[in-house]
């Protein structure tokens, strides 16, 4: 049977319509992609244009002036953020790392699935809920807002993040390292600490920095734990100021001068986060080249 010309060839107009539709969709997708990244540039632009001019020596060294007075700075907020990040690291990172060690070195498949699931669920807990819980645990019994409470709230938020990244990095360490160490008669815990963790150290550090970048901008958990402070905190049992808190307070205030400072504070905070992210990128790039 000879091949007859198929009657089901599309008309040239229809074929062209299909082509046009495909090109139109391509155009739409391109527009969407650029629409998605546009807000980033809009935010960065305004941070720079509204905040940069206020970054002077005063801003970095002075305390906030009393309500309504012009001038002053956010020195205590900047220091406060650093203090809180340090405390969060102290409270959250050990738990995260040991949790990751459990997942990678000890855990059974079933237990691990549940723990990972729980960690991902915990990641989805709204940050303000953490503030409420730490309020009940650390603020009410000790009758006061404190830097400790703020540090613990932020630290708890870090735990699931650090745990997952630590696990991922530890799994990458080749099994042969472990076996070689054990075959030398090294104790298991030492093998884990000295061989496995040491090998994966850069990856673990990267994971910690990623978590820090995440919580550096968190405001909600600090609202009723660290509370904020217009003066220097003399010890960690007192409320402490932090950049996000200050930005929030100034942003909602009715004073133009405070608005100006809020932009400057936001710029400083964003710069901090960008530095942390760039550090992560640099560390990761080195790692992928040596592996």
């Amino acid at each position: 049977m000879a091949m007859t010309e198929s009657p089901y060839l599309p008309t040239p107009q229809f074929a062209r319509w299909r082509k046009v539709k495909s090109s139109a969709v391509t155009g739409v997708l391109v527009v969407c992609a650029f629409a998605v990244i546009a807000p980033l540039f809009l935010v960065l632009y305004f941070l720079l244009s509204k905040g940069f001019s206020s970054l002077d020596w005063n801003f970095f060294t002075q305390l906030p002036k009393p309500t309504g007075e012009v001038g002053g700075g956010m020195a205590n907020a900047i220091v406060g953020t650093m203090v809180l990040l340090a405390m969060a690291t102290v409270f959250g990172v050990p738990f995260g790392i040991f949790g990751g060690i459990y997942l990678a070195e000890y855990g059974s498949d079933r237990a691990n699935n549940w723990i990972r699931f729980a960690a991902d669920v915990l990641n989805g807990v709204p940050s303000i809920v953490w503030g409420m819980v730490v309020y009940l645990i650390l603020v009410v019994p000790f009758k006061g807002f404190s830097a400790y409470a703020g540090g613990v709230a932020l630290g708890l938020m870090m735990v699931p993040l650090v745990m997952r990244t630590t696990e991922e990095v530890l799994i990458l360490v080749p099994q042969s390292y472990r076996e070689a160490a054990l075959a030398l008669g090294v104790a298991r815990w030492k093998m884990i600490v000295v061989i496995v963790v040491r090998t994966a150290l850069k990856g673990i550090a990267t994971g910690v920095i990623v978590a820090l970048a995440r919580i550096a901008g968190e405001t909600a958990p600090l609202l009723f734990t660290a509370l904020g402070n217009t003066f220097w905190s003399h010890n960690l049992k007192e409320p402490i100021s932090a950049l996000p808190l200050q930005i929030f307070a100034y942003g909602l205030s009715p004073y133009d001068d405070w608005h100006r400072q809020a932009w400057a504070g936001a710029l400083v905070l964003m710069a901090l986060i960008i530095v942390l992210n760039v550090t992560v990128r640099i560390l990761s790039r080195d790692r992928s080249q040596t592996d």
């Binding site: 969709v25 807990v125 745990m163 815990w189």
Partner: protein
């Protein structure tokens, strides 16, 4: 000789049994902490809300009165606000995010892809409070003076776009939440689309399909369930956004049909009024709101994880 677990059949070093066991239990404890934390959070929220639960019962959830002076508390306006603002954000962010993910996985050459991916990751790094600041001083004035006016003029026959325009509104909150959840929706969608086997695309191409037709029949249909999971994950994220929302939603506990009207969400009311709560009952009501928020967020996130796991097989997708 030793009961310490080892991966190879080698005798452990002498004297190491104690430290080995101690080390292991520290690790076990740390891992167990995760599960404990979830329970702890739930428990603390519950104990904080006991007063309010006892006083208002389940009616708390559908009462729309919020009067601290008269001590009448109901969560409905906040539930409404959270749902509506999240829904708006999904309507904006899911199509944009999936479209961008399609662009990145199927269309964009490497040189274009990399910068866009980095830009999206940077967008994810911007803290909520900075979005809020930008929202108050840049977005809201523009919305109030341009977009909202245009919407009212062209679509004002719908009750959604009627009523006075203040700038701070449910719609503004929805827009800003959309911007904040775009990175996660896009990156999860990208992973889902990448997991569609190439063989499916080739089958469609071999039939003479155009590029869009290949995307439609071979990629998007295959990835349907996973993309839905990405949307649910975005919803989970949207539910918990606090700071930016508080700064642009207007913070008024009312239920209105208009998107231009100010609103209030579960997270915002806690953020705003927690430190002002003068009575135990007031504070307890706020805790109950926090409990509702926690329960909803956990359920939605768990559902998303389950959906995503069924699509990509192995472990749950890391969300951070």
């Amino acid at each position: 000789m030793s009961s310490a677990p080892t991966t190879t059949y080698v005798m452990p070093a002498p004297g190491s049994r104690g430290p080995d066991i101690a080390f292991k239990w520290v690790a076990v404890f740390a891992a167990a902490m995760i599960v404990v934390l979830i329970v702890l959070v739930g428990w603390e929220l519950y104990s904080g809300s006991r007063l309010a639960i006892a006083k208002y019962g389940p009616g708390f959830l559908w009462s729309s009165e919020w009067d601290p002076v008269l001590e009448k508390f109901g969560a409905l306006p906040f539930i409404f606000g959270t749902l509506v603002s999240s829904l708006i954000s999904l309507l904006i962010a899911v199509p944009l995010g999936v479209a961008t993910a399609l662009f990145l996985t199927e269309l964009a050459p490497l040189k274009v892809r990399q910068p866009i991916i980095i830009a999206i990751e940077m967008l994810a790094a911007v803290p909520s409070v900075i979005f809020g600041l930008w929202g108050v001083f840049i977005l809201i004035p523009w919305l109030r003076d341009s977009l909202f006016l245009w919407l009212k003029k062209s679509l004002g026959f719908l009750p959604l776009f009627q009523g006075p325009i203040y700038g701070v509104s449910m719609l503004a909150a929805g827009i800003i939440i959309a911007i904040m959840i775009l990175p996660i929706v896009t990156s999860i969608s990208r992973e889902i689309l990448r997991s569609v086997p190439n063989l499916q695309r080739e089958a469609a191409y071999a039939l003479g399909a155009t590029r869009w037709e290949v995307l439609k029949i071979a990629v998007l249909s295959y990835a349907r369930r996973g993309l839905f999971g990405a949307a649910v994950l975005g919803l989970g994220r949207a539910l918990g956004e606090t700071m930016a929302v508080t700064m642009v939603i207007g913070n008024r506990p009312q239920i209105s049909a208009s998107l231009f009207a100010p609103g209030y969400t579960l997270a915002s009311v806690v953020a705003n009024e927690f430190t002002e709560a003068t009575t135990d009952l007031y504070l307890s009501a706020l805790f109950e709101i926090g409990l509702v928020l926690f329960a909803v967020a956990i359920l939605v996130n768990a559902a998303a994880q389950v959906m995503l796991k069924s699509m990509t097989g192995s472990g749950p997708i890391k969300v951070n």
